[in-house]
């Protein structure tokens, strides 16, 4: 059988299928279905230094083959994450990765430092899609300079592999990915959600309490594949690809485009067992095409 373990910087995953931050809670919510150690890795809900209340409801709107969300990063904050959420995973085998956000570089640094002592974390994912409050509230991730600065600052203090999660709401994804690489990222993950909006035409009101939200699900997949493909030409570090992956076929599209591993979010809502089905499907595809390793299809797009 083909070898499907992959390397994300120094981190070895037993398979390339992971679940995306914000869609799998703090790692315990889906325990009734299957043990998370069957997944390559679990990206935990994004955390901030202080707890966040989140956005005004409604926070969810379904859209064609996808959904908008405006959760507003509701989370328990660093302290309870360390005191309650991470210890709850102590007896849960699996590869867990923290996802961190902040209003300024200093906050990212403080969180990264505090997480150095967490025993059950395998890596850090740095979410640069959040607004930079010191720079007028524009997302860090739209600026190559800010992305490099944050990456470098986190890299300098963290003992963990650093994955930088890129925002797709940019003109040139390659430029931002190169900035993350220059800052010392071990890998980049993309895409986060696309900024969108939906309106209830009868009520003439926005569907979301926050007016706008992040679009995810199959609707964004072709854009995500394009961005992963472009990024793979721009950087040498591994890419974690995501955006609307629902089936093994979808996942293989991302591998061919250059992703070393993939993540699933919205599709897990439709079917919590979908990641396990995809792992099986990938093995089947590799066998059918007589490959010995998943690496034989990574970036194997033919011109």
């Amino acid at each position: 059988m083909a070898d499907i373990n992959v390397k994300i910087g120094p981190l070895v995953l037993k398979n390339p299928v992971t679940v995306a931050s914000g869609t799998y809670g703090y790692g315990t919510e889906f325990l009734d279905f299957y043990p998370p150690c069957e997944l390559g890795a679990v990206f935990l809900k994004g955390i901030t230094l202080k707890p966040r209340a989140g956005n005004k409801p409604p926070r969810i709107a379904e859209t064609p083959a996808g959904m908008l969300n405006a959760i507003g990063l509701q989370n328990v904050g660093l302290e309870d994450f360390l005191k309650i959420k991470l210890p709850a995973l102590n007896n849960v085998p699996g590869v867990f990765i923290a996802n961190i956000s902040g209003d300024c570089v200093e906050e990212f640094v403080q969180i990264a430092q505090a997480l150095n002592d967490a025993p059950n974390l395998a890596a850090l994912e740095v979410n640069v899609s959040c607004p930079n409050l010191q720079q007028g509230g524009m997302a860090f991730g739209v600026s190559a300079q800010a992305t490099e600065e944050i990456t470098q600052a986190v890299r300098n203090v963290s003992r963990l592999p650093v994955i930088v999660k890129l925002s797709p709401n940019v003109t040139n994804i390659c430029e931002i990915a190169r900035a993350a690489e220059a800052g010392g990222a071990d890998a980049v993950s993309l895409v986060n959600t696309f900024l969108g909006m939906a309106i209830d035409v009868e009520k003439r009101r926005p569907m979301l309490g926050n007016f706008t939200g992040g679009l995810s699900g199959p609707a964004i997949r072709p854009i995500a594949v394009r961005m992963v493909w472009q990024t793979s030409k721009a950087v040498k570090i591994p890419i974690l690809g995501m955006g609307g992956i629902r089936t093994a076929r979808d996942a293989i599209e991302f591998f061919l485009a250059g992703a070393t591993a993939i993540s699933m979010g919205t599709a897990v809502f439709q079917d919590p067992s979908a990641p396990l089905k995809i792992i099986k499907g990938i093995k089947k595809y590799l066998a059918a095409h007589k490959h010995h390793s998943i690496y034989e299809i990574i970036g194997a797009l033919e011109a």
Binding site: G22, T23, Y24, G25, E29, F30, D32, F33, K45, A53, G54, K56, P57, P58, R59, I60, A61, E62, P64, A65, G66, M67, N69, I71, Q74, G209, G217, P218, A219, G244, R246, T266, A267, V268, F269, Q270, D271, P272, S273
Partner: protein
């Protein structure tokens, strides 16, 4: 909470676009309690991607019955399943009603009858007196719940147009006399619950409300189904769907 492929053993269509489905799932039945719901996959393909949350209307030894109103694409797809088909169901989900050792007043509006039907049955089985006030638009809508007499000791049907039972809104029939020392349980559209909340508060009472919210994960993971309560935003799927009426701060529709 389990994810099961459950075989449909019965389908019934009623007026006003109501449909009832009965599926076999001993796993879900074993844990099911009134107020809990199931989350159902409505399409094989990429759209609609989200499951639809539906309350447990009834459960016997091995089957679960749901009753829903077709209001959009998801419920329309769900109304197309037939006897013998398999349904991908996750459940039971959420905190159930806490059964108070007292006579009960159940207040249902429209499709909100579903969790109260199951509750009424369990209350009756435990020997409690159950007065059910069921508000619907017209006589046609009440047909879906024809067997409500079985789960209540006293049934007051209220129609907006007076075509059956009393005329008015369910909340018009909440007063000192109907309330007595009864424990109150309610489910229905937000305007009804908001009115009931105000009315009960004025009388120094509270109730257990089963709430609805748009959901994504239905498992407590995404924080998408939040409602504003006195203890901050809470998840309808994992912290609810049953909440104490005096804890609810704001209704999402601004009612």
């Amino acid at each position: 909470m389990k994810q099961v492929l459950a075989r449909i053993i019965d389908v019934n269509f009623f007026e006003s676009d109501y449909v009832s489905l009965t599926f076999k799932s001993p796993e879900i039945v074993a844990e099911a309690q009134p107020g809990q719901f199931v989350n159902i996959r409505v399409s094989e393909g990429p759209h609609p991607i989200l499951r639809r949350p539906i309350s447990i209307f009834d459960a016997d030894e091995e089957a679960v019955c749901i009753l829903f109103k077709v209001v959009g694409e998801g419920t329309r797809l769900l109304s197309e399943v037939r006897k013998g088909d398999y349904l991908d169901v996750i459940g039971p989900i959420g905190h159930p009603f806490k059964i108070e050792p007292a006579p009960a007043l159940l207040v249902a509006g429209g499709a909100g009858i579903a969790p109260l039907h199951f509750l009424g049955r369990r209350l009756r089985e435990s020997g409690f007196d159950v007065h059910l006030i069921y508000g619907v638009r017209t006589r046609k809508e009440a047909v879906a719940a024809i067997d409500l007499v079985r789960v209540s000791t006293r049934l007051t049907i209220v129609t907006e147009d007076g075509s059956l039972g009393e005329r008015g809104l369910a909340t018009d029939f909440i007063n000192k006399k109907t309330l007595g020392d009864r424990a109150v349980y309610a489910c229905g559209p937000e305007p009804m619950l908001a009115a009931l909340q105000t009315k009960l508060a004025a009388m120094g009472k509270s109730a257990q409300f089963s709430l609805e919210s748009r959901m994504a994960c239905g498992a407590g993971a995404c924080q998408g189904c939040a409602i504003a309560t006195q203890s901050g935003y809470q998840r309808v799927c994992a912290d609810g769907p049953v909440f104490d009426s005096d804890k609810i701060l704001k209704w999402s529709d601004g009612a």
